[in-house]
Point group: C2
Chain length 220, copies 2
């Protein structure tokens, strides 16, 4: 197709601009002393429920804010707002991912130095967010037990660009006949040595461990 080289060229330029802006964001976060953790997964893997519970768990000891990305609706901001964090929704329209520019715009009037943590919930998508650095310190990819153990093999890039994998909805593992060892094998075959944590936001399984790990990010 004759347009292909031009598209690649434009896409490369946009990604470069994103990387430059993400580096600026990362430096701004560092200077403000805020630890920024982003969360990415398929639609419906439980990002918002996990964050609701985690905000409630850590909110008493830390000053936490959240940015949440979605194509449409402000439902997630409303849900996280109930957990008492400072929350802003980024509504992307038809854009399938957050980028550094959207994050910078959403944070423009925030006083980052008053925060300990900023959580960024990306649009539900296992493909496109992998290309966009948001300036985060740590990227967490969520995989729910109902999605199938092979998803890391099918969406390797997102697992490769993430630092930690959270296996979510462990309460449904038996009903979904989830094979934890097969899932761990899939994750580790695309990202050897990746840290894998298992949680159920519903029953609380693993939430203390994940909370402790998040707190350690700031200490470290």
């Amino acid at each position: 197709m004759t347009t292909q080289p031009r598209l690649v060229e434009v896409r490369a330029r946009i990604l470069k601009e994103n990387d430059v802006l993400a580096r600026q964001l990362r430096e701004r976060f560092r200077q403000a002393g805020v630890c920024v953790v982003s969360f990415v997964s398929s639609p419906g893997s439980g990002k918002t429920t996990f964050l609701e519970k985690m905000l409630a768990q850590l909110g008493a000891r830390h000053r936490i804010a959240a940015l949440v990305g979605d194509l449409a609706t402000e439902n997630d901001a409303a849900r996280l707002g109930r957990a008492c964090a400072q929350v802003r929704q980024i509504t992307t329209g038809t854009i399938c991912h957050l980028d550094a520019k959207m994050v910078a715009a959403a944070l423009e009037d925030w006083r980052l130095e008053e925060l300990d943590f900023l959580f960024i919930e990306n649009v539900g998508n296992l493909v496109c967010p992998s290309s966009y650095d948001l300036g985060e310190q740590v990227r967490v990819v969520l995989l729910s037990v109902t999605e199938g153990e092979d998803k890391p093999l099918k969406y390797p890039t997102i697992f490769n660009t993430a630092d930690v994998a959270l296996i979510t909805k462990m309460d449904l593992a038996a009903a979904a006949e989830f094979d934890l060892e097969a899932a761990r094998h899939s994750i580790l075959s695309v990202r050897p040595g990746m840290r894998i944590l298992e949680v159920s936001a519903k029953t609380g399984q693993g939430m203390a461990e994940v909370g402790g790990w998040i707190e350690s990010l700031r200490a470290g």
Copy 2:
């Protein structure tokens, strides 16, 4: 951002080229007398399992082939191949959707007039595939009970471009505390009048009805 207008321009041109090619495909399918149904959903909504069972169910009475899209792996083609259909995997690399050109290339040496049905399984993604017409006669969007009832509100475009919604994994509805009426309400509020069918590929619930509906597409 200075690149924005140029990106939009290039994207619009690519979409236009896709639409032209999709129209040619649609005409080719019509002339060959093959009914083409595409399936799109989040990763892990159960597209492949549904298709495995549906191919087994309809395969004795109809000549069926399938194209399956994934970023990486040929797992799905291997799974569907066991159900005795002619199958080809389209491996997209980092591309987040199928387009008409990929479909045309994959079908190049196929004798479509020897087929009754062609099923196309898109890449698991609720955002990007919505922009790409594949020349299909009917587009089916799948929503599994574990993803949450609000997903149609959050990903309205994909539901708007689909003709029928399949609610999958109904066997997990109770464990996931799925609210069927809320999900139906979400779907119908973004696409009034949309046909909604409920299935479990695991227990067989609803599969005969969906199979009958697919067969009726060819009769009609």
